[in-house]
Structure formats: structure tokens, C-alpha cells
């Protein structure tokens, strides 16, 4: 297997250079180099255990790669900041938001409160002003409700605002997680298998939602997904990980035709893969 390096891009939001992540003797990511252009939808695909979620965890500060560096640039003009070694919540405050492969909402809170928590991490009113009900805390409260409702409408959950998150349907929970992440006004959104466990019509809606987030909110999207149909329909570029190594990068069209990818990942004839998709694993 040959490792490739994705070509550098003009205005990278993420610039990942030669990162290696090991757990004891197990190499989870091996010398991965990739950069993500501001404003694009970049999909990362690869078989289970290829290191996709590990890469996400490195980008969000959950794991700390032993080698390499990860630079993040929130805005076109801002200076690049190294992500490695920073705390998860600090990285979130830089402008990186994510969802989880196994949904991680706050199950006992309502949909509205879930999104509010995201919005409120950017507010500054402190405990004293909250206890005394001072004007700035009341203003914050109003603003967070308004923004959260806006985001719920955006993901199509306006009617479920007062439903307990736990009681929402699977697809709705996935969308709620996206709304919560958007609450932190990120410049890049990391989606970890957002379509897992959803039905075909939900998948179509999700594809539209991702495109909408990307265009209307000007949020770059990094997407891990097994559902090939979804990946091919939304992604601007696709990168393929296998055994912790980057083995291919290119447009969806190129990736579909890439014999290395077909051999490593799809495992079926190219025309068949393009037709039916290799997705479906949850």
C-alpha cells in the first residue's frame, strides 16, 4: 500500500502535517498529511478501524498525536493556531464543532436546552449576575433562546423544541446534535457518521442540510460517512484512509474510479460501487 500526501491548498482551514497517533504498539494514524480548504465539504471515507474517528479526535483535542502538527485557521486573516496539546473546549472556542458517531446529547434536557448549552458557551454572564437576575444575564438568556430556536428551525426541529432529547427519533437526535454544534458558531463542523442508522429519506434530507450549512452559514464541513451515495452527492473532495494511512485524495468522481480505493475499500467492481453504494453499515 502506498501512502500519499494530499496536495496543499491555497487557503487551508485545517493543515495537518505528518501526524502519527499510537496507542501502545497499535498505530492508529500513521504519517497522515492533509489540508482542508476553507468553505469546502471534505469527506473522509475508509473501512472500519481505518482511523477516521481517531483523526477527528486529534483535530478536536481528545487525543494527542505523538508526532506531527495540526494547524487551524479560524478566519482567512487569522494566524494559524496549533491544535495539538490544547483542551477540547479551547479548540471548540477556536471555532471547531463536532458531532459524535454514537449520538451524545444531554438526554434528560429538552431539544431547546441542548442547543442553548451550545449557544451559551459563548456568553459571558457570570454566576453573581445569574443569581441576582441582572440585566446582562437576562439579555443572555433571551439571546440564547432566540438563537437556539432559530437553529432548531434550521434543522427542522422547531416543533420538537420542548421534547426531551431522549424521546426524539434517531434521525431527529442526529439533527439535534448538529444544531447543538452549530450553536457554538463554528467555522468548521466535524460530522462523524451523521447518516448512520437513518432511513433513505432522512439521508436525503441530511444531505441537503449539510449543503445548506455549508452554503448559507459559510461553515466548512469535514464529514466521515460510510454511505457512498451521500458522500458522492455532497462532498467537494474525498480522502480515503486505510489502516491509518491516507491512500487517496480527489474529487468524488476520481475516487470512484481510483483502483487503489476500489481494492482497499469498496472491494467490488467500480461500476457496481457507483450504482448501489457500499454504505449501510451502522
Amino acid at each position: 500500500m502506498t501512502t500519499i500526501e494530499a496536495p496543499p491548498v491555497a487557503d487551508p482551514i485545517f493543515d495537518v502535517q505528518h501526524i502519527t497517533l499510537r496507542f501502545g504498539g497499535v498505530v492508529s494514524l500513521s504519517d497522515v498529511t492533509l489540508s482542508m480548504t476553507r468553505g469546502e465539504i471534505l469527506a473522509i471515507i475508509g473501512p472500519n478501524g481505518a482511523g477516521k474517528t481517531s483523526l477527528f479526535n486529534c483535530l478536536t483535542g481528545v487525543y494527542r498525536p505523538q508526532e506531527g502538527r495540526i494547524l487551524f485557521r479560524a478566519g482567512r486573516e487569522s494566524a494559524p493556531v496549533s491544535v495539538v496539546g490544547r483542551k477540547t473546549h479551547t479548540i471548540n472556542h477556536l471555532g471547531v464543532a463536532r458531532t459524535f458517531q454514537n449520538i451524545r446529547l444531554f438526554p434528560a434536557l429538552t431539544a431547546l436546552e441542548n442547543v442553548q448549552i451550545g449557544v451559551e458557551t459563548r456568553q459571558r454572564s457570570g454566576p453573581i449576575s445569574s443569581m441576582l437576575g441582572l440585566p446582562n444575564s437576562r439579555r443572555d438568556q433571551k439571546a440564547s433562546v432566540a438563537r437556539a430556536l432559530e437553529l432548531l428551525s434550521f434543522v427542522g426541529l422547531r416543533k420538537e423544541a420542548n421534547t426531551i432529547a431522549h424521546a426524539l427519533s434517531y434521525g431527529a437526535q442526529r439533527r439535534l446534535e448538529i444544531a447543538r454544534a452549530l450553536g457554538t458558531s463554528p467555522s468548521v463542523l466535524l460530522l462523524d457518521e451523521p447518516a448512520a442508522g437513518t432511513n433513505p429519506s432522512e439521508k436525503r434530507e441530511l444531505g441537503d442540510l449539510i449543503k445548506q450549512i455549508n452554503r448559507e452559514m459559510a461553515v466548512s464541513v469535514l464529514l466521515i460517512e460510510h454511505d457512498m451515495k451521500l458522500v458522492m452527492s455532497v462532498a467537494d473532495r474525498v480522502m480515503v484512509l486505510n489502516f491509518g494511512q491516507l491512500i487517496a485524495a480527489g474529487t468524488p468522481h476520481e475516487i470512484q474510479r481510483d483502483p487503489v480505493v476500489v481494492a482497499a475499500y469498496l472491494g467490488v467492481a467500480p461500476d457496481e460501487a457507483a450504482g448501489t453504494g457500499a454504505g449501510g453499515e451502522a
Partner: protein
């Protein structure tokens, strides 16, 4: 082949749920007869058992006690087995009529006024003994428990060294009124020791929290337990600073000297009762605001899923520190009031047992529910005083423990559960999606009954 055998076996009487429950109830009845019955002697260990279970201690004829206990067991079994249909019917009626009227603001306000009036009047009517109990054993401890509720109930951090902050508050009150071997730079009125004590506890909370709050769950519990013991033992052994095991005594009562206004709290109970009532009201109002603010929500987020909270940008360590500091300062406040009421304390008052009891009060009342914590603490602190009249002192812990055990089995979310906690424990009003999906249409009743 084996599956057939298994299926056959499980149709036996033993696999009948209600039969097994009956056996359990009868067994508990016998146990109850033993516990309440005659005590054993050192010469004959079986004496107590024989005399509890059999008439005159001679085997075949059962004692009246055991028969009554077994009957109680049967009644409890019948209530559990057949009572659910009854309560289910009642619940529907209640949710229709009572719940709606309970939610009306007029009713809420009326209940509030009635309860407040009751709290103001009741101490005037009861005997001095109960007045004393209400002030020292109940109200001050309720204040303490409300502080711990912030840490345990809202932020979800198990703090087993909470009494340390109570101790620090007490020592601060003694220090600033000049009743410790070390003298303060200036003496202050006992009332004005409150900000000093609250400030010191805030600081202590942050100092303890900063290095330890990255720990989770059990680890945090052990560290806080250690902290509680360190504070007590240090106070006990620092003769020159804290007066060692003798503690402080002759501490001044609260007093106000503001120009023409002069008032001494003295050693009476009523002034303290009303003082604590006012403090409790302030604390409840402030905490309620906090619970429903961005900070309260952030605590809930941390409690429910710390990883997700971090990924959503919640500054978890900062928020946990805040909970710790607020809890600690409430304990400090409670310490000052206690010291001023009782005018003496010793390191012995701050043993681990106190921390554990307060955790028990909070859990019993309903973690995260202020009303629950207040009622639960009041019930559990009054209980020993009530039991005192009916039971030998040595037996009391058994009943206390039994009540806790029964409570945790049948109402794990506490006496008056917090709405959010109830959701977390899966006691939803609406059945969850899976339950509906899994259960066939006809069997939903079983799901509820199980």
C-alpha cells in the same frame, strides 16, 4: 433439547414473579420480627431468636409478634401485586384534575403562603425541646444540605469531604471574634464574620477543586474524603492555632449595634429560627435563578455527558470549580450560624460521618431538587428525635438504614425528584421510543408494572 428443559423448568412455581415476591415479603416479615423482638443475651445467643419467633421461646407455637409481622408481609405483598391497577386508575384521575389545578399560579402562591405561615408559626407552638431540634438539628443542616445539592445534585460531583467547609466556616467565625489562640488583626461582630467565612470557604473550595476536579466519579469522592479528614485532623492537632481537641467555646451570639438599634440574639431558639429561615429563603431564591441560568444548564451538561459538554465548548473545570465554591461557601455560612447559636464547637463535630449523612439527606430528598432536599433533610433529621421516644438508642440506626434502603429501591430519584433527574433515571411520563417499539400492543401494561 436443553432449551425445552429450560422452558419447562421456568414454568414452575418458583419462576412465578408474584410467588417469589410473596416469599420475599414473608422473609422480610420474619426479619422484622427478629429485629423488633427480644434481645439476645451473652450466655445464650439463641435466646433472642427463640423468644422473638416462638411463644414463650418454645419452638412449635409461633409468637404473636411473628404472626403479626407475617400478616403485614402478606398485606404488603397484596398491595404490591394488586395495588398497581388501583394506583394506575388513581393516577389517571389525578393527572386530569389535580395536576391541572396544582399548576395554577393562584394555587401555587396559596400553598407557598400557607407553608411560609406554617414555618413562622410552628416554632411558637411546640415545646422548647422541639424548638431546639428545629433550629440546631434541622434548619442549619438544611442550609448545609442545600449547598451540597449544588455540588452533588447539579454538577454531579460526589463530595465526601463536605464537612470540611462547615469546619472552616466555624473556625473562621471563632477566629474573627478572637476565640482561637491565634488573634485576628481586628475583631469583628459575629454577624460580620459571615463574609469572612464565606470568602475563606470559597477560597478553600477553589484550592481543593483546582487540582482534584480533573478526577471523575469515585476518584474525586476518595480525594474529597481525604480532604475532609485532613482538615479535621489538622484542627485537632494544631494546639497553638486551633486550640486542639478542645475547640472553641464561649463564642458570642449574633448581635446588632447600629446606632439606636440594638438587638442580641442571645441563647434563645426563636431569633435563630427566623434568621436561618431568612437565610434559607435568600439561598433558595438565588440558587433557583442559578439553576435555570446558563450555569445551571452547563452543570447539567457536565453531569450527563462530560465529553459531549467539552466538545460543545463548556469549560468543564471552571464550571465544576464554581459548583464546588458555591457549595463550600454555603457550608461556611451554615458553620457561622451554627457556631453563633451553640457558642462552642470542637473538631469532633466535623467527623466523616457528618459528610456521609449530608450526602444521604441530599440523595434521600432527591438530588438536584431543592424542595426535595429541604423536605428530605427535615424528615431524616427529625426522624432520630422522634424515634428516640419509641426505640432504644442502639436500634435507631437499623430503622434509619432500612428507610434509606427502601427509599432507594422504590424511589431511586428521591422523595421529591428533580424533573431532570427523573428523566435521567428513565422514569419518563411518556414511554420511550424503544419501549413502544419492543412491546406488542397488548403488553404495555407489563412494561409499566415491571
Amino acid at each position: 433439547m436443553t432449551s425445552v428443559v429450560k422452558a419447562k423448568r421456568q414454568t414452575g412455581l418458583w419462576y412465578n414473579d408474584s410467588f417469589r415476591r410473596l416469599i420475599g415479603c414473608l422473609f422480610t416479615g420474619v426479619l422484622f420480627a427478629l429485629v423488633t423482638g427480644t434481645t439476645g443475651t451473652q450466655k445464650d445467643y439463641g435466646f433472642g431468636i427463640k423468644h422473638s419467633l416462638f411463644h414463650d421461646g418454645k419452638p412449635p407455637v409461633p409468637s404473636v409478634r411473628v404472626i403479626v409481622c407475617l400478616l403485614i408481609g402478606v398485606v404488603v405483598w397484596a398491595l404490591i401485586t394488586y395495588g398497581s391497577q388501583l394506583t394506575a386508575r388513581l393516577r389517571i384521575e389525578r393527572s386530569d384534575v389535580v395536576a391541572q389545578s396544582l399548576d395554577r399560579p393562584v394555587v401555587k402562591l396559596g400553598t407557598g403562603v400557607l407553608v411560609a405561615a406554617g414555618l413562622i408559626v410552628v416554632p411558637l407552638l411546640v415545646a422548647p425541646f422541639w424548638r431546639e431540634v428545629l433550629v440546631t438539628n434541622v434548619s442549619i443542616v438544611v442550609l448545609l444540605a442545600l449547598g451540597l445539592n449544588v455540588v452533588v445534585g447539579w454538577a454531579g460531583l460526589l463530595d465526601l469531604g463536605y464537612v470540611a467547609f462547615y469546619a472552616i466556616g466555624s473556625y473562621m467565625a471563632a477566629y474573627w471574634t478572637g476565640h482561637l489562640p491565634v488573634q485576628p488583626p481586628f475583631h469583628v461582630n459575629p454577624f460580620l464574620t459571615i463574609p469572612f467565612a464565606v470568602g475563606a470557604c470559597l477560597l478553600a473550595g477553589v484550592l481543593l477543586g483546582a487540582p482534584t476536579l480533573r478526577l471523575r466519579g469515585d476518584y474525586l469522592a476518595i480525594v474529597t474524603l481525604g480532604f475532609g479528614e485532613i482538615v479535621r485532623i489538622t484542627a485537632n492537632n494544631s494546639e497553638e492555632i486551633t486550640n486542639g481537641p478542645r475547640g472553641a467555646s464561649n463564642l458570642p451570639h449574633f448581635s446588632v449595634h447600629l446606632g439606636p438599634i440594638k438587638y442580641e440574639w442571645g441563647s434563645g431558639q426563636l431569633p435563630y429560627w427566623y434568621t436561618v429561615l431568612v437565610l434559607l429563603a435568600i439561598v433558595v431564591v438565588l440558587f433557583r435563578k442559578l439553576e435555570h441560568s446558563r450555569i445551571g444548564r452547563a452543570w447539567t451538561a457536565i453531569r450527563e455527558d462530560e465529553v459531549a459538554a467539552q466538545a460543545t465548548g463548556v469549560k468543564t473545570v471552571q464550571m465544576k470549580l464554581l459548583a464546588f465554591a458555591i457549595g463550600a461557601s454555603t457550608a461556611g455560612l451554615s458553620g457561622v450560624v451554627n457556631v453563633s447559636k451553640n457558642s462552642a464547637f470542637a473538631p469532633n463535630n466535623f467527623i466523616l460521618n457528618v459528610s456521609i449523612l449530608i450526602v444521604a439527606y441530599v440523595v434521600f430528598g432527591g438530588m438536584g431538587s431543592m424542595l426535595g432536599v429541604i423536605v428530605g433533610t427535615a424528615v431524616l433529621t427529625l426522624l432520630p428525635e422522634v424515634l428516640k421516644n419509641y426505640l432504644p438508642t442502639a436500634d435507631q440506626p437499623i430503622y434509619f438504614g432500612a428507610i434509606l434502603v427502601i427509599m432507594m429501591i422504590f424511589r431511586p430519584a428521591g422523595l421529591i425528584p428533580a424533573k431532570r433527574r427523573r428523566m435521567e433515571l428513565g422514569q419518563h411520563d411518556t414511554p420511550s421510543a424503544e419501549a413502544v417499539a419492543v412491546a406488542p400492543a397488548g403488553s404495555i401494561g407489563h412494561v409499566e408494572g415491571s
